[in-house]
């Protein structure tokens, strides 16, 4: 990518290195004391964690603990919620996306998002859903668009199912297919970071499997953050895991370590299934 700025090594990273991790780790993003308020209520408080480039970071934790809230803070989606207010920093390649003068539109162009509920554009065809971002950003050449559609749908493991009916409405797909369509749509604009909020919660095991496979492929080009309720999934797909509890980041570290020897007893209780 572009040139790398000198980095301050976060303490967690040192721990990771001590644990024998690869030395080529670079944070693509970094949350620094990120807090999101809904009115007076804290949705998620004082979160600091790195998001390493070309790795999959999983966010786990019981329902309502603030995973979605944190994820949405990473691409300024809270800007649209009048009651929500964000404090702290979220760095993308060293630059705070909340700094004055930063255009949230640019931020979101670089940091894509897949939502918890599938949300294809209701009036558009499958084809047009995938290229919605590209087209509205001014890409017109048909072969470029065609290519983007096939590539993105392949990546989202949907191509084979829809290649013969690309002109059908996006809404005519099943829920799981719609979610993969949304993934394809997000991938089509080639974001640097992809935030996924429980992308497989509506999918059958086979599509889930293909999305999980997709992730290991994806991380060659993209940095992925995935919220999941599925422990096995987090263990399977992620390189790093953050555990949230009641609006706090309780533990962050390499997935293998978080799952085998968590430092916090609350994490251990959760992953061993004693609550949550």
């Amino acid at each position: 990518m572009n040139e790398q700025r000198p980095l301050t090594v976060p303490p967690k990273l040192e721990a990771a290195r001590a644990g024998g991790l690869e030395a080529d780790l670079k944070p693509r993003m970094e949350a620094q004391g990120l807090t999101v308020y809904y009115g007076k209520k804290v949705g998620v408080g004082n979160v600091s964690m790195p998001i390493y480039a070309n790795r999959v970071t999983a966010l786990i934790g019981p329902s309502g603990c603030g995973k979605t809230t944190f994820l949405r803070a990473l691409n300024r989606m809270h800007d649209l919620t009048p009651v929500a207010r964000v404090e702290g920093k979220a760095l993308l390649d060293g630059q705070d996306i909340y700094a004055p003068g930063v255009d949230p539109v640019d931020v979101r162009r670089r940091i894509g998002m897949v939502f918890q509920k599938p949300n294809p554009f209701p009036t558009l065809t499958i084809y047009d859903n995938v290229i919605a971002g590209l087209k509205l950003l001014g890409v017109r050449r048909k072969n470029v668009l065609d290519e983007a559609v096939e590539r993105s749908l392949q990546q989202a493991a949907l191509w084979d199912e829809v290649k013969d009916r690309l002109r059908a409405p996006g809404m005519s797909l099943s829920g799981g297919q719609q979610q993969r369509l949304c993934i394809a749509r997000a991938l089509a604009v080639q974001p640097e970071v992809l935030l996924m909020d429980e992308p497989t919660s509506a999918l059958d095991p086979i599509s889930t499997q293909s999305i999980e496979d997709l992730m290991s492929e994806l991380k060659k080009h993209v940095t992925v953050v995935i919220v999941t309720h599925n422990m096995q999934q987090a263990a399977r797909v992620s390189d790093f895991t953050g555990y949230f509890l009641t609006g706090e980041l309780v533990e962050f570290g390499p997935t293998s370590q978080v799952f085998t020897m968590p430092k916090d007893p609350r994490t251990e209780a959760y992953i061993t299934g004693r609550f949550g």
């Binding site: 649209l80 998002m113 009036t123 509205l136 749509r185």
Partner: protein, 279 residues
């Protein structure tokens, strides 16, 4: 109620209620059918080629036609649709998509005011603001008055249907890195298009039927004119004037004008539906 019990009686009751519903619906629709029927039957018999191609002629020359009023109606209403439609759309978008915008409270007051203001007074507003300074009645002033009739209707309809578009559509668009205006114009508005069009058509139909605001603005004109800079006649104005005339020729022309106006509104609605049909 016992499950499965007394099936016969329940069926009968169901029939009875259904009958009541149908009767009620008929009662509501009947006046509409009667009015439309009368307009169609009486109007149709008064329609002829002269009606469409000839302008006003004195009665002793046969009375002529209403070409001048048809042309005037089309010119003024299309311009009014352009102005009033755009203003109404813009206002509706602002209220629905930028709920915290500082101009919104004013916008809402103005819209409510316009909505409650009799059309005649809208004509007076334009009379004061345009006709007096310009020193004469013009089709342009008439179109502006009709636009004032349309604005609150279009605005409310637009705001209403845009608010029905799920929030997730906007989020999905924004998350792709699209600017807000782009999301609204290219994704939200199309999702609500049928409703928006209906709003525009409601406004158009309402304005096309207004005679009162044109009195002090367009001023009426017995000659055929293709310029909005001149005084302009409209069908609604003609109906109002002719309906009270003793001459049967004029009264027939009023009926025919009613029919043409009705058909015009109907055709506009169908055209809009067709233009925005699902492809």
């Amino acid at each position: 109620m016992r499950p499965g019990g007394n099936l016969e009686r329940r069926k009968l009751f169901d029939r009875f209620m259904l009958g009541l519903l149908i009767l009620g619906s008929l009662l509501v629709v009947a006046p509409l059918v009667l009015v439309l029927g009368k307009v169609f039957l009486t109007g149709l018999s008064a329609l002829n080629l002269a009606f469409f191609v000839e302008p006003y002629r004195p009665l002793d020359e046969g009375g002529g036609g209403l070409a001048h009023a048809i042309v005037g109606t089309l010119m003024m209403n299309l311009l009014a649709l352009l102005i009033g439609g755009l203003l109404g759309l813009a206002g509706g978008i602002l209220l629905s998509e930028y709920p915290d915008h500082p101009v919104n409270p004013f916008l809402r007051v103005i819209s409510d005011l316009l909505n409650g203001l009799p059309a005649l007074l809208k004509g007076l507003v334009i009379y004061t603001l345009f006709v007096i300074p310009m020193g004469r009645f013009t089709g342009l002033a008439g179109a502006l008055a009709l636009a004032l009739v349309m604005v609150p209707i279009v605005l409310r309809a637009t705001e209403g249907v845009l608010k029905l578009v799920p929030w997730s559509v906007r989020e999905a668009g924004l998350a792709l890195g699209l600017p807000r205006w782009r999301v609204i114009l290219s994704l939200v508005l199309p999702s609500a298009l049928p409703g928006v069009i209906t709003g525009l058509m409601l406004g158009f139909a309402r304005a096309a039927g207004e005679a009162a605001p044109l009195y002090f603005t367009a001023g009426g004109n017995l000659n055929l004119s293709f310029s909005l800079g001149d005084q302009v006649e409209s069908l609604a104005l003609t109906i109002y004037k002719y309906a009270g005339e003793p001459s049967p020729v004029r009264q027939e022309q009023a009926w025919a004008a009613s029919l043409v106006l009705t058909l015009l509104v109907l055709a506009a609605g169908l055209l809009a539906r067709w233009a925005t049909r699902k492809r």
